[in-house]
Each structure stands twice: as structure tokens, then as C-alpha cells.
């Protein structure tokens, strides 16, 4: 029986006829769909092992009873290949609700068999073992067998090599022992026991991660390209050094004295760095987070090392017959866990990046997250080598050979699950195998699932993941395994950002069971209500009352409840919380308004709210209209008004900035021609203006132009610090001249030129 025969017995799923129409009657369709049975759980049949072998399956849309993970895992467990997109190689599509229109079109155009969930279950029940005797299944079987054979060979090869190595070590040890005994017997005078020979630790006492650590470069899983690049860079390092790091070379790595390997934990970054350096004959000097790496210590310890050469080569045992290569005298500095520099390592990162520019030996830096702000100093000075998580295929043979050597029966399909659970962390998988193997000698599908679950690394979720999970309708369905506590836990992953992210994104979903647009609206309204209520709670928590016991409640109201209302398909990219930006903008406007009110208060006698509402619209008009209408003739009237209200040029910008709607700042500014603008600035700067009230201290502005209206003759010399009479300064000797832009430090060299400029400026 072949897969084709079985498939032909399964009815085709109904493909939605009018694909274009789909969006149009979306809600009607939803209503119809909702009536079909959701909720009851499905009995997953026990199928023959590897029965789907040779099939390439695509899952699309929402299956009514199986969730995506379960169904894909199911297919994988029985040997099918699960892909995400439909192509000519796809043997069947399992189609659910809300399948994408483009996918449906593709199914039609490629004439691929499409079945629904019931069909899939029927398929599982009826497929024979090993995928029947169809050609595809046979081929897949052969391929699998070939793979397994190769793995066995590899494992045997490794086993042999390990034994050889052990034997060699033993021989060496014997020889040394003999030598030391001999030596001891020669030197009778010493009372010491014969020097204790270091015990070689047998493999069985090592951690598996040590025992099976890659010992050759080709044993590294994944990232082949990057390892190659690292190798090239390191081997060419001294040639590049001769060229003073000026020639980029073929891959552009020739200009870097250091390289930065980045990537998540457990993917072999440190191993790769060590192996590459070792294979090229470098002596390795390693510093990691367990060493203090503050600026001063780096300077005192490391700087002197940077030009050293290694003498290890001179001490090599003669009997080991190792040729002295040039690199033997060379160090390679591996700086591990660079992002682990913490508060104790003050200035370490900066100092390190400075070393990267001057070092006379290759430096390899390793970190987990290159995007951190503290890592930014390394951006330009290091060759960037991002390591990716190795894929399942890349790890498979390695893991299988370990399992083989340890005599564990490991089901190849299980590896996929382990890889997923650990986030492609090969070290963790090896750790897991080593622990599980203590009690079990075979690891099959079901146990692996349990193991994988309990081994899932629990890390704090990022705001984006929290949002995606909270807005996912599946966790709210009645038969979901998510309790309310689990959802509140999502909130607790990031209590500051989760509410903001929900607030930002709650409008961009299509609620899964909203039947009509009105229903959707009602849900959005409910969610909005809850979010605003949550703000009340938040103010109780964060205010002076500090009622932190309300935190779970805040979680419910700000995140869980609104999401439960609108949860569904997220129809666009999840946006980052806009509140932060808006808030800081609002603060900025408040500050600007405050300044304006402060400056104008001799003329306005009002508070800042009133100023914004009553004065500013008119002021804005009086300050911009003349420039818009009269071009350069308008400049003088505008300056007159500004002087009347004691406004500075900065205030003029701010007033324009505060405009809304038709008078939005940028629109108004666009209306004024560049010529007029610069003429306005010039003529404003060339005259002096009355300043009635000036706050001292916090006024270091970006405005350079306004500094020009200083009377240089009255400026206090920084070194003398004698108070001078100035009608505008209240208490000059208390003002730090560096902080106040009304006072300018006069640089002695420039005084002559500026003094000349000043009288010119004083002409009114």
C-alpha cells in the first residue's frame, strides 16, 4: 500500500471557492465557522511508527481541535517532513480555518492534495508502517538508513580515537611516572616523596559536555562559515599586522585587530574560539567574567601583555616531537563574556575597546548580546562574527553519535523536540541526555516530551513575546491548559512593559470570536475601559501609597482582561509601546511652555495653561504671519513683538513648535522661505534684546546663536572671578559661568576678533 493509495481514500477538504471574496464576508464566515464544534478535545490515534515517512506536509490555517504545535509535532514524530510554505515538493496540505488566500491559490495551481483535520487523523490511522511501499517512502527510508549508518560509523570512529587518545595519555603518564621515580631516587637528599603525578581524569568522571566537547574544528555544529572566517582572520593576522591593518583583504577582515563573536549561550562560541586558536598554534590567554576587568586593572594587567610573545614553545617536551612553528611564540587573547562586565568592572568595556585598536596580538571577544548599549563601543573596532543557533540537522549526527557512544537508544525524531525545547542549545541537550541517561537507557517520543518540558529554559520573556502570547486567542479557549495564574505570570515577566505593550497593540487584532463589526467595537470599548481603570490601580501602586499588593490585580486589569476581550489574530506587526515616546514629548512641551510662561510673565500675568490656550495662538500668528506674508519686510515687526514679550529666538522656535493642526510647526516653517528664515536669524542675532527674567543654572542650550548677544566687555573672566556690574545679572558671582549661556567664557586667543565683532553687533 502506498501513501498515494491511502491519500486517495481521504476526502478532499473544501477549499474556499471565491478567494478574493474572503476578506469581504469575513465576519459572516467567522459566524458560520464559530458554530462548528470547537472545544472538545480530539483523540489522537496511535499510528504505526514512521508511517508518514516520505511525505512533506504543510499545515495552514487554524485546525479546529489540534493546535499547530501538536499537529506539527505529531507529523514529525511519525517521520514526515513539515515545511511552512507550499511548493512542488509538498505532498499534502492539512488545511484549517482562515487559511491564507495565497496558500489556497497555490494549492489549486499546483494541484496538491488538501485534507482537513479529520482527514489527517484518518491518514494517521490508515498509513502502514514505514510509510508504505510507495517510491517516496522507500526513498526516505533509504535516506534515513544511510544517515543512521553514517552516524554509526562516525561514532565508532570517534570511539576509536578516544581510546587511542586515552592509551596515549596513559603511556605518557607511565613514562613520566618512571621519570619522576628515577629522578627521586637520584636525588636522595630531598625528603620529599616522589612528586605526585597528576592523575589523568578518566572520561567517565567528566561531564558529558567536557567529554564530548569538540576536539576538531569539523566537529563544531553549525556556523561553518563564521568559523571559517575566524580561521582566515586569525591566520592572516600577522600578515595584516605587517600591513598595519590598512588592507581590508578579500573578506574585509584585514583591517581589524580584534573580532567579536556574538550569539546565544550553548552554541559553541567559546569552543570555536579555542579550537581555532589552538589549531593555528596560538597560546591562549583567557580572561572571563570570573576575572576582575575594570578599567584600571585592565590597564595594569592587560596592557603590558598585549605586546608579549609566548615562551610556551620553548618548554615543550622534547619527547613530544612537536615542531616549533612560528605561531608557537604567539598569544591569542580570548576575552570571554564581554557583556558580563558588570558594575564592578567600571570602565572595562571602554578600556577593552581601546585595546582593540592598539593590540599587538589577536584578540577574540565573545559575548551573548551584541545589541546591548554597552557593547556598542566595539562596533567599529572589531570584526563582527555573529554565531547563529545550529539547526536541528546540524546537531543531529553529533547527538546521535554521542547517544551511540553512551549506548542510549535515542529516537531520531526526538531530537527535534529537544532542540525546540532548549532553543537550539546543544550544550543543554547534552546535559539533558546525560541526566536522563542515569535512569533510562532509551529515550522515546513520550518521555522526551516530558523531559523537554521540564528542561525548557525559563527566561524572562521580552515585551514583544509577552504581547504576542497575551493576544493569542488560544490561551483563552476553555480547553486551553492556561490557568489564569499562567496569564498573570505573563504580566509578571515585565510588569512595566506588558501593560504598555497591550495598550499599544490591542487595536491591531481581529478578535477570534467577534461575529460582527459591532461586536468587535464593543470588545475594544471594554478593553479600553479596563485599561483606563488599570491606570487608577497603577497610580495607587506607584504613588506614595505603594500598594504593591494590588500588583496581580493590576496585571489582570491592564493586561489579561483587555487581551481576553480582543485576543485573536494579530493583523499587523506588534509595535513597541508608543507611550514612552509620547510621554517624553509631552514632558518636553510642558517644559517649553514653562519656559515661555517664565519669560513672558512680565507681560502676560497668567499661568502656563492659560498661556497655551489664550496667548499662544495669537502670538503664533503675530510671530509667523508677517514672515509668511511680507517675507523680509516682516522681520522687524516680528522682532519687535518678541522684544515686547521678552522672547528669545529659542522661544520663537518653541512657539512655532507648539502649533497644532493646520499650524503644525513643520508646516509653518515650510511656508517661510529659507532666505527669510536665515535673514530673520541674522537680523535677530545682530541686535541685542531685552531679557527680563532668566533662570540660571539649567540653561545650557543648544542655541549657539543666542550667545552672541553678550556684551563681551562685561563678561566675567573665568580666572579672576570678580563680580561685575551687569544690569541683567542678579548675582553673578554665584553663577557657574560654564553652566550659564548668558555668560561666555572668553578664550584669550579669540578675544581680539570677538571684541571687534561685538561693537558691530551693538549698533542698533
Amino acid at each position: 500500500m502506498t501513501a498515494e493509495q491511502v491519500l486517495s481514500t481521504i476526502p478532499d477538504a473544501d477549499l474556499p471557492e471565491d478567494v478574493e471574496d474572503k476578506k469581504f464576508n469575513f465576519f459572516a464566515k467567522k459566524a458560520a465557522d464559530a458554530s462548528t464544534g470547537t472545544g472538545e478535545s480530539v483523540q489522537i490515534p496511535e499510528a504505526q511508527p514512521n508511517c508518514l515517512s516520505g511525505l512533506t506536509i504543510v499545515f495552514t490555517g487554524v485546525l479546529p481541535r489540534l493546535d499547530r504545535d501538536t499537529s506539527e509535532n505529531l507529523a514529525k514524530r511519525y517521520g514526515a517532513k513539515v515545511t511552512k510554505s507550499i511548493s512542488g515538493k509538498t505532498s499534502l496540505v492539512v488545511i484549517g480555518d482562515e487559511a491564507g488566500p495565497s496558500k489556497i491559490k497555490k494549492i489549486k495551481s499546483l494541484h496538491i492534495k488538501a485534507i482537513n483535520e479529520d482527514g489527517f487523523i484518518q491518514l494517521l490511522q490508515s498509513m502502514p508502517m514505514e510509510g508504505g511501499d510507495g517510491a517516496a517512502a522507500q526513498k526516505a527510508k533509504l535516506k534515513r538508513e544511510e544517515e543512521e549508518r553514517k552516524i554509526v560509523e562516525e561514532a565508532e570512529e570517534e570511539e576509536r580515537r578516544a581510546q587511542e587518545e586515552e592509551a596515549r595519555q596513559k603511556r605518557l603518564l607511565e613514562a613520566r611516572k618512571a621519570a619522576s621515580i628515577e629522578k627521586a631516587s637520584h636525588s636522595q637528599s630531598s625528603h620529599r616523596e616522589p612528586a605526585e603525578v597528576p592523575r589523568i581524569i578518566p572520561d567517565s568522571e567528566k561531564l558529558w559536555t567536557v567529554k564530548y566537547a569538540p576536539s576538531r574544528i569539523d566537529q563544531l555544529c553549525g556556523n561553518k562559515g563564521q568559523v571559517q572566517k575566524l580561521q582566515n582572520w586569525l591566520s592572516n593576522w600577522f600578515d595584516n599586522a605587517k600591513k598595519d591593518f590598512k588592507v581590508p583583504g578579500r573578506d574585509g577582515s584585514g583591517i581589524y585587530r580584534a573580532c567579536l563573536i556574538s550569539g546565544p549561550p550553548g552554541i559553541g562560541k567559546t569552543s570555536a574560539a579555542h579550537l581555532v586558536a589552538k589549531s593555528l598554534g596560538f597560546d591562549i590567554l583567557e580572561k572571563n567574567a570570573s576575572d576582575v576587568r575594570s578599567k584600571s586593572l585592565l590597564n595594569s594587567n592587560l596592557k603590558s601583555v598585549l605586546t608579549n610573545t609566548s615562551v610556551v614553545g620553548f618548554f615543550k617536551h622534547r619527547d613530544e616531537n612537536i615542531q616549533h612553528t612560528q605561531n608557537d611564540r604567539r598569544f591569542c587573547l580570548i576575552m570571554d563574556e564581554v557583556d558580563g562586565m558588570s558594575s564592578g568592572d567600571h570602565g572595562g568595556a571602554g578600556a577593552l575597546s581601546a585595546f582593540c585598536k592598539i593590540t599587538h596580538m589577536p584578540m577574540i571577544l565573545i559575548c551573548n548580546d551584541k545589541s546591548l548599549p554597552k557593547m556598542r563601543t566595539f562596533d567599529r573596532v572589531t570584526l563582527d562574527l555573529p554565531f547563529r543557533r545550529p539547526s536541528e540537522a546540524e546537531m543531529k549526527s553529533r547527538l546521535m553519535s554521542i547517544a551511540l557512544r553512551e549506548k542510549i537508544k535515542l529516537d531520531p525524531t526526538v531530537i527535534g523536540q529537544l532542540v525546540q525545547a532548549t532553543g537550539n542549545d546543544i550544550r543543554q541537550i547534552i546535559n539533558l541526555l546525560s541526566t536522563v541517561s542515569k535512569t533510562q537507557s532509551s529515550i522515546g517520543g513520550e518521555q522526551a516530551k516530558d523531559a523537554a518540558n521540564s528542561w525548557k529554559k525559563q527566561t524572562v520573556l521580552k515585551p514583544f513575546d509577552i504581547t504576542a502570547r497575551l493576544l493569542n486567542a488560544q490561551i483563552y479557549s476553555p480547553n486551553a491548559k492556561h490557568s489564569l495564574n499562567d496569564k498573570i505570570d505573563l504580566y509578571f515577566n515585565d510588569i512595566d512593559f506588558a501593560p504598555l505593550m497591550i495598550q499599544e497593540n490591542y487595536l491591531s487584532t481581529r478578535p477570534s470570536d467577534a461575529r460582527t463589526p459591532q461586536d468587535h467595537l464593543r470588545r475594544v470599548a471594554n478593553a479600553a475601559d479596563d485599561i483606563s481603570e488599570s491606570d487608577r490601580i497603577n497610580s495607587l501602586i506607584r504613588s506614595s501609597e505603594q500598594q504593591w499588593s494590588l500588583l496581580p490585580f493590576h496585571g489582570v486589569m491592564s493586561s489579561v482582561k483587555p487581551s481576553s476581550q480582543v485576543a485573536g489574530q494579530i493583523s499587523q506587526r506588534i509595535n513597541f509601546a508608543g507611550w514612552l515616546g509620547q510621554n517624553s514629548k509631552a514632558m518636553k512641551y510642558q517644559r517649553m511652555l514653562q519656559d515661555l510662561q517664565y519669560h513672558t510673565r512680565l507681560r502676560t500675568s497668567t499661568d502656563k495653561k492659560e498661556l497655551r490656550l489664550d496667548y499662544l495662538p495669537t502670538l503664533r500668528q503675530r510671530l509667523t504671519e508677517p514672515l509668511l506674508q511680507g517675507e523680509e519686510q516682516g522681520i522687524q515687526p516680528v522682532i519687535d513683538i518678541m522684544d515686547y514679550y521678552y522672547l528669545t529666538k529659542e522661544d520663537w522656535d518653541n512657539i512655532v513648535d507648539l502649533g497644532v493642526g493646520r499650524y503644525k510647526g513643520e508646516l509653518v516653517l515650510k511656508g517661510i522661505s529659507t532666505k527669510t528664515k536665515s535673514a530673520f536669524t541674522r537680523s535677530y542675532n545682530s541686535t541685542t534684546h531685552p531679557i527680563a527674567i532668566y533662570k540660571t543654572g539649567n540653561s545650557v542650550g543648544a542655541m549657539v546663536s543666542s550667545k552672541k548677544n553678550v556684551d563681551y566687555e562685561d563678561v566675567i573672566e573665568d580666572d579672576t572671578n570678580t563680580p561685575d556690574k551687569d544690569d541683567e545679572e542678579v548675582d553673578p558671582d554665584k553663577i557657574d559661568s560654564k553652566k550659564d549661556k548668558l555668560i561666555k567664557e572668553v578664550k584669550p586667543k579669540k578675544t581680539a576678533r570677538k571684541a571687534k565683532a561685538a561693537p558691530k553687533g551693538r549698533k542698533k
Partner: protein, 325 residues
């Protein structure tokens, strides 16, 4: 009461009856089984044990270390640091690293063990500093972490360790142990009393035994009334009954009768509201949407109570509103 004639200082029972060997550790059979095998074979991997308080994390690590190293080496070859010790980055760089470097002659398959209790309270910086130490000295030194939340342990450390999750102890496991202790201490009890102890402990063995001891010390006899007096929280079952009256039967009178009982016993409004909040999170038999609405009402009353309006009327209002949902 029975001890008035012999006033001798008594160890807390949790210490007195702390398991000494892995065989005595209750619960999480599968994991303990694995630990036993490790104890037998040696070559202990680095490990993280995570789980709720009072389920035997620290105890099992100590038992494991003891069984691995035996009397002779236990003192010498273990280094234990918990949250009461300074475990900043400097200690990791100096004390822990030095200990890892020390040479101690141990039988084959045994390693020095560094026990870091309450590891989730270590700063990320200190944890970072452990990373390479764990690898470089792994041939002589192994690490064991105990923590409540494994998510507080940085990912690189998790990746280096075997992660063992301890589950809450089942009620009968707690019960077995309570019976053992009671028998050893000649405690007089009735079954309701033990039930109450188990209920209030929520799978926390330490709390169960502590409460047992307090009840015995205070009243001499373990029954449910005494236990709840000791524990001093409104009986969650009562609260649950109130809520079920409200949601299912919509019978405010019976709900309020129960509330009156609680109020008469002197429980404060805040106790009752927080307990209601906790119970309603897991209240069986209601849908998710309704549960959220319920929690919304409870939460707002919680807010009002915190603001100072901790009156009986608020509670009545709360339950009336819940009936109305």
C-alpha cells in the same frame, strides 16, 4: 502543656526531622531516584533545582552531597553559600574561584561541590562570573543551585546545568510525613486537624511541620479550629463556599451568613478580600470571562479597602455585586 514539667530547649521540628539521606526525602520520586543514582555512581552534573518553598530542594542537595562525599570529606569538599552570605561578584571571583582551584584528594568519581542556595537572589553580574569557572574547573568541582524561580538564573548558567524541577508535594505525601512526625512526638490529633494543616500548607512541607509544632505548642491538640487559629487566615474553603453561593446559586443570604461568621471571628476586611482574590483566581466551575469580571469586582473592593474603607459594608457590597454578575 505536657512539656511544662520538663522545660528543655527544643529544636524546631523542621530541623529535627530534616531528612539526612535521599531515601528519606518525600515526593518528586522520579527526580530523587535520579539523584540517588548520581549519589551511587558519582560524577554529579552541575544542577539547578527549582521549585516552590518547602518542598525539599536544599535538603535533597545536602543529602546528595553527603552521600557523595561521606563523613570524611563532607566538611572539607563542600562550600555552601546562601543568601545570608555575601555573594557579590567579588566573592564569586575570589572565594568561589579559590575553592574551585583548591586541591582536595577525593575518591574517583567524586568532586568538590559548591552549593549555592537561593541562587535566584544572586546578582546577574555574579552569575556571569560563574560561567567560565563552572566550565574550567568542572573536572574537579561541581555546582548545585537551589532556587525558587529558575527564570532568575541567567540563561548561560541554565544552559550549563541539569535543570531539575520539583513539583508541589501531594497531600498524601505531606500527610505521611506529618503522621511520622506526630508519632515520633506523641502528638494528639484528629483527622480534621491534619486536613487543615495540609490545606493551609499548600504542598509546603516546611510550613506544614511548622504549623503542626506551633499548634501543639499552643494548644496541645491538633484539630481544625486550633490550626486555623494558629494560621490566622480565613479558611479558603469558607471563602470558596461564599463565592459558589454567589456565582452558582445566586443566594446572597447564605453567602452573607458565612461572611458574618468570618467577620465575627475577627478577620479583617483586608484578610477576607485578599483571600477572596486568591480563591477566585482558581474558583472551579466558572468560565474565563466571568472569572475576569469577578476578579475585577474583587480587585476594586481590594483597592477601596486599601484606601481605608475597610468596612463590613464593602464586603457585603462585593458579594452582592458578584451575585449580580
Amino acid at each position: 502543656m505536657k512539656r511544662t514539667d520538663e522545660p528543655k530547649l527544643e529544636l524546631p521540628w523542621v530541623e529535627k526531622y530534616r531528612p539526612r539521606r535521599l531515601d528519606d526525602v518525600v515526593g518528586n520520586e522520579e527526580t530523587i531516584e535520579r539523584l540517588k543514582l548520581i549519589a551511587k555512581d558519582g560524577n554529579m552534573p552541575h544542577m539547578i533545582i527549582s521549585g516552590l518553598p518547602g518542598i525539599g530542594k536544599t535538603t535533597s542537595i545536602h543529602c546528595l552531597a553527603y552521600e557523595l562525599l561521606g563523613d570524611d570529606y563532607y566538611q572539607q569538599a563542600t562550600l555552601e553559600l546562601n543568601a545570608s552570605d555575601d555573594r557579590g561578584i567579588d566573592v564569586v571571583r575570589n572565594r568561589i574561584k579559590q575553592f574551585a582551584q583548591t586541591k582536595i584528594k577525593l575518591p574517583p568519581g567524586r568532586h568538590k561541590i559548591i552549593i549555592l542556595d537561593e541562587a535566584d537572589s544572586m546578582t546577574p553580574g555574579a552569575q556571569q562570573a560563574l560561567r567560565r569557572t563552572m566550565e574550567i574547573y568542572s573536572n574537579t568541582t561541581r555546582f548545585a543551585f537551589a532556587c525558587n524561580q529558575s527564570s532568575k538564573i541567567i540563561e548561560p548558567l541554565q544552559s550549563r546545568c541539569a535543570i531539575l524541577r520539583y513539583n508541589k508535594l501531594a497531600d498524601d505525601q505531606v500527610l505521611t510525613r506529618l503522621l511520622e512526625v506526630s508519632a515520633a512526638e506523641n502528638v494528639k490529633f484528629n483527622s480534621e486537624g491534619l486536613q487543615a494543616l495540609i490545606f493551609t500548607a499548600e504542598g509546603d512541607m516546611r510550613q506544614a511541620i511548622n504549623n503542626l509544632q506551633s499548634t501543639v505548642a499552643g494548644f496541645g491538640f491538633v484539630n481544625d479550629i486550633n490550626v486555623f487559629k494558629i494560621v490566622d487566615q480565613p479558611h479558603p474553603l469558607v471563602i470558596q463556599r461564599i463565592l459558589i453561593h454567589c456565582t452558582k446559586d445566586r443566594d446572597i443570604d447564605r453567602a452573607l451568613a458565612l461572611l458574618d461568621d468570618l467577620w465575627a471571628k475577627g478577620y479583617s476586611a483586608i484578610d477576607i478580600v485578599t483571600s477572596t482574590f486568591k480563591v477566585s483566581k482558581t474558583l472551579p466551575g466558572i468560565g474565563e470571562q466571568k472569572r475576569l469580571e469577578l476578579i475585577k469586582e474583587v480587585g476594586f473592593v481590594h483597592m477601596r479597602v486599601l484606601e481605608g474603607v475597610s468596612s463590613y459594608l464593602q464586603l457585603c457590597g462585593l458579594y452582592a455585586k458578584i451575585c449580580d454578575l
